[in-house]
């Protein structure tokens, strides 16, 4: 795996300019590690930002990856000289070449010219499950297969930065579900950082570590995903499906009841089913609408997961509901979660920031298998 000398390599991006009536003015920094999602509604400029990073489009600004400047003032490295891998919304495979020749198109132009090979054809083929497609023509592949080949082609050009422009948006639900596990595996196995454009929060929550929120050509917020998710003032907290994704570790199993225990920073969850072995990491998602709050530990309830927590902040939404941020643990030092409660309950219970509460979690979604220590890769 690739190692960089710098302890915390970063990418920094700044682009501004006009495209017809649309004005773009964005600036953000992100770690050059893991997946950074550019998230926002359609037409917010996220694809334009990605195209600027690739050099496919030129606006004024600056881009540097781990100190390597690709654009700044009059410096503008053309696309074919940037160490990127780009996955378009439509696979855009070369129709006149076989799948194998497509996969090797970028490989020949990098490894063939002395670039260090960090990932080989057989590894990519294995990782993406495309072995039986190699000798076919791209025209005879399904949408999901084509997109997997496109991802493989980008990876084989040995990129230092993977750029993905809504790679799942053109696919139907079925093909999406087919590809997502592959993307998650890439995330676990590969060290190459990625910028991932999407307008689908579910996709972003499954894949991203870092988030850049865009709206109307501007950056609304940027930061680690869990931090932004637990900020009740941001637009993502106002979405009906608002919630948090948290890193959890499997700590044990209750064979008699068929439950698995998961440890979160500041609390423990029991979820149905026998999950992976103890010690493995899982990413869990807890929706704000699945969490209710109580001042005393409830008795005679069927809810399995009741976690002591402390209220950190609260934000009134549309006059009826309150989005409450709680931090797990009696000391309130653990992971942050969102709870959506009615204003009536908030007032009736006399809740306020700083108060100890019990968070009752009605549902936990397992998002992915993730290594517990991301920094260790």
């Amino acid at each position: 795996m690739m190692q960089t000398a710098h302890p915390e390599p970063r990418m920094e991006a700044r682009f501004q300019g006009r495209l017809g009536a649309f004005a773009l003015d964005v600036a953000f920094e992100a770690p050059a590690r893991g997946i950074t999602a550019l998230f926002g509604p359609s037409g917010c400029g996220k694809t334009t930002v990605l195209r600027c990073v690739a050099g496919l489009q030129r606006l004024d600004g600056r881009f540097a990856l781990d100190g390597d400047v690709w654009q700044d003032g009059s410096i503008f490295r053309p696309t074919h000289e940037r160490p990127i891998g780009y996955v378009f919304q439509e696979a855009s495979l070369f129709p006149h070449l076989s799948v194998r020749a497509n996969l090797l198109y970028g490989h020949r132009r990098t490894v063939g010219r002395g670039v260090v090979e960090t990932i080989r054809l057989d590894e990519v083929v294995e990782l993406l499950g495309i072995g039986r497609l190699l000798d076919r023509s791209p025209q005879h592949l399904s949408g999901g297969e084509r997109q997997r080949v496109a991802v493989g082609r980008a990876l084989l050009s040995q990129p230092r930065l993977l750029l993905m422009d809504e790679p799942l948006a053109a696919l139907d639900r079925f093909s999406k579900d087919e590809i997502l596990p592959y993307l998650e595996r890439l995330h676990e196995v590969l060290s190459v950082p990625a910028l991932y454009v999407s307008h689908d929060i579910a996709e972003v929550e499954r894949l991203a570590d870092h988030l850049v929120l865009l709206r109307d050509g501007r950056v609304v917020a940027a930061g680690p995903m869990q931090e932004l998710q637990a900020d009740p003032t941001l637009p993502i907290a106002r979405m009906p499906e608002a919630g948090v994704t948290l890193p959890a570790v499997v700590t044990g199993h209750d064979a008699a009841y068929g439950l698995t225990a998961l440890d979160l920073p500041g609390g423990r969850l029991l979820v149905p089913g026998h999950l992976s072995a103890a010690g493995t990491g899982r990413r869990v998602r807890i929706a704000a609408s699945d969490v209710s709050l109580a001042r005393q530990p409830p008795s005679g309830s069927t809810i399995l997961n009741v976690l002591p927590a402390r209220i950190v902040a609260a934000e009134l939404q549309d006059g009826v509901q309150v989005m409450v941020v709680v931090a797990l643990g009696e000391d309130g030092q653990g992971a942050r979660m969102l709870a959506r409660v009615t204003r009536k309950s908030w007032d009736a219970l006399g809740l306020a920031p700083g108060q100890p509460v019990f968070a009752q979690v009605k549902g936990v979604a397992l998002v992915q298998e993730a290594p517990t220590d991301r920094s260790g890769r």
Binding site: S92, F94, S157
Partner: protein, 221 residues
């Protein structure tokens, strides 16, 4: 005797087509990709031979190639007096005359696949020249095929321009179409029949072959 105009015509058509593929491809690429405001004016100049009477084109070519035009100056470099009434002059005339038949299909083919394959190649480290030869040309191969066949066939059938700038010099400028005209003029019906019938069969075969080939190329491309 009857073979001389046939061979001459084939030579002229092959040479013209080859030159047009080399010269016409960058022109077609530029017309397909450029954002210059005056590119449609260039496209119109290229397309002019489609509507211009061959005698008009031939007349201007005669001026250009004659001893007093730039062609005469060019010819003086190797001691000739003029490019008119020479095989070289005929090649220049044919290139201009058949240009739209080669450039247009190639331009259309370049336009058909859009920007995306070129962008994809650039993100895979292919330089613009590399992209041109490994992506653009293969993707436009139907256009090249159509252009080459049309250019070749069209040059074979050219008459008006040849008569204006080439005349009727056996072995030098007496091509098929002129030879047929000549045989009819001198009432040599047998020879005229032979050549005309041959042209008919040739044209039919060319078009049939092109359509079949296009279908096959289209299926794999």
């Amino acid at each position: 005797m009857i073979w001389q105009p046939i061979l001459l015509t084939l030579e002229l058509a092959a040479l013209t087509t080859a030159i047009l593929l080399v010269v016409g491809t960058p022109v077609a690429w530029w017309l397909a990709r450029s954002g210059a405001w005056w590119k449609e004016a260039v496209a119109t100049v290229v397309a002019l031979p489609l509507v211009l009477p061959p005698t008009v084109l031939g007349f201007y070519l005669l001026m250009l190639l004659g001893p007093n035009g730039p062609g005469g100056w060019l010819a003086s470099l190797w001691g000739a007096r003029s490019l008119a009434f020479t095989f070289e002059g005929l090649v220049i005339g044919s290139v201009l005359y058949s240009m739209p038949f080669v450039v247009q299909p190639i331009r259309n083919a370049f336009e058909a696949f859009g920007n995306r394959p070129l962008e994809a190649a650039a993100t895979l480290r292919a330089s613009p020249l590399d992209t041109f030869f490994t992506v653009a040309v293969p993707l436009a191969r139907r256009g090249f095929l159509t252009g080459a066949v049309l250019g070749f066939a069209h040059t074979m059938g050219e008459f008006g321009v040849v008569l204006m700038i080439g005349g009727n010099i056996p072995g030098k400028t007496k091509v098929l179409s002129v030879a047929i005209f000549d045989y009819v003029e001198t009432l040599q019906w047998n020879e005229a029949h032979l050549l005309a019938g041959g042209m008919l069969v040739f044209s039919f075969t060319v078009i049939l072959a092109m359509m079949t080939l296009e279908k096959r190329v289209g299926r794999t491309g």
